[in-house]
Symmetry: C2
Subunit: 333 residues, 2 copies
Amino acid sequence: MATVSRVLAGNYPVTHSTRTKVLRAVRQLDYVANAHAKALAGSGVETIALVLDDITWPAFAQIGAGVEQEAARRGRLCLVCTTQGDQQRELAVVNLMREQHAAAVILVGGLQYTAEYRERMGRFARSLDSVGSRLVLCGRPPIGEGLPVTVVEYDNEGGAYVATAHLLGAGHRRILFLGGERGQSTATGRLAGHERALAAYGLEPDPELLTYADFSRESGLRRVREAVRASTSFTAVFAATDMVALGALEGLREAGLRVPEDVSLVGYDDIPVARELTPRLTTVHVPFDELGRTAARLVLDRREGVGGGGDRVLLGTHVSIRDSTAPPPAAPR
Amino acid sequence: MATVSRVLAGNYPVTHSTRTKVLRAVRQLDYVANAHAKALAGSGVETIALVLDDITWPAFAQIGAGVEQEAARRGRLCLVCTTQGDQQRELAVVNLMREQHAAAVILVGGLQYTAEYRERMGRFARSLDSVGSRLVLCGRPPIGEGLPVTVVEYDNEGGAYVATAHLLGAGHRRILFLGGERGQSTATGRLAGHERALAAYGLEPDPELLTYADFSRESGLRRVREAVRASTSFTAVFAATDMVALGALEGLREAGLRVPEDVSLVGYDDIPVARELTPRLTTVHVPFDELGRTAARLVLDRREGVGGGGDRVLLGTHVSIRDSTAPPPAAPR
DNA sequence: ACGCTGCTTGTAACCGGTTACTGAATCCGC
DNA sequence: GCGGATTCAGTAACCGGTTACAAGCAGCGT
């Protein structure tokens, strides 16, 4: 038995004839070692846990693909759990991962950024750390110094700044902002970037143009309908996500407004559908796959003692200018 | 130690005072049981392994979501591995899952349907079976009777039949078919349905209208370009997947052809982008999430001794008629 | 007060590997 | 041909739980 173990591990001298016999038996019996026993004995494959709201959202799927690729490339398995935004389930999943002794738990996606959140993540971080695992926040706000956490973010606020600046630079002055929910971290950053750009152009944010709702397609449609019904005047729409932009586009069509001739439209995320729309959607590109790869890379480097990685990374964003933006019409509505 | 185990399992009488003490200690130490040790001892959470080409493809992501939901609902974990279409990696992954003693290994997606494939899957089925695991083929062709396999398919051929019949019924007679690779199982089924519909209308398949290439957007674009360049006459395009349809749409636009006024376009899969296109794409709806849920359900029912499930399920498909199809123009080009 | 019953807790074997240590066999030099 | 060094294979402890079984103890009847 010890010999078989050594042959399979290949880390100990075994006579050629013995090795051959063992391998033949292995093939005959179609033997594979029990991963749990290996894990228990301290050998065995590590797993990386990925926790996200919903794998069918393109942005999350891309992050997931990045994590999985990097994990696979380095011989790790990838455990995926979805929470549907349920905090209770998130707690359960993190504990489950602690039981599994996952090498890392990567939490993905924005959420309400509250003191309760920070406190909660702090507990997660410490309890994962206590079993040799590591918490990674991916596209989530950091939770303070001194905690065993790795954070991988993208320049959320900067992307929104540039997107709005792009509209302002084209001459737009009344931009309907379809933001996310108040307090939601991603939404907050995007709003901040938007307002900073307005300020840079000496504009006051007009409350009439600022809306807050969830990131769904439906909410984009609804809010554009409401703005049109209220005869709000605007020459551009900045949707806080591409999904919202999809709804907005439908709403604008309904109202007989052409994009970009009558109204310009900008999204955020650059999910694959953006370039399939008519007109192709100008949007803020977020390197989601890179985000996932980086998260996995940092945590695996750290595990393998390759220092250098660091515990905090900020990836850049940029605007992909396509066909949904143009200067405002001569006579703004 | 035994007492702690019993308190946490809750399957054995323990005095209230003892239980309280144990729970307090658990909370103080932030203790969680080691999942590997539990698994080794025969208790512990089961995991379901999902093996697919690429999680960012919307159809796969939906299947994945279905599997994950059903698995989570029933207290299982979901291990996701991608192969990027690499058979070698698939083999490695299946063996890895055998080591992990996964309750089931769900293989997703079409591929070359050869004798070698059947032989290979037969080996997978038996070797997984030998460790108490179960092979599930999801959207893949079955591999013969008498093997320990569960198969969940959708009516691939039927969907193609109805889609083509829809075009024929509208008056189209020259339909450019953008098929998949020859021998690829999904592609073969869709081609068969297409040809059966043609035959039902008394039409011979015209080799000039039948093309075969991969399921990428790029291949759709390329093939439409070639058809236009060759002045092939057609009034409709049937793309074997929505991704191919995306490329086809771009190609038609390039050629100055309006959809659906000049050329009708039908896709297959009904991925979310289909309804965002202009015009909204008529396509064959495939219940991918249901496919995933069913795969997980069948295999878990079997495991829990709930018979009834069966080992072979065929889900229905239907055409979602949207705006990309219309009768052919009066004077066909 | 003693023995019996029934409930609770403790003990130890087992799950299936890994690996330090022990022991046997081979090879070498003299 | 023999002692010592060197290989290689076997033994057993350990990883961290579960659970059958043994044992302790309280409560009860007599």
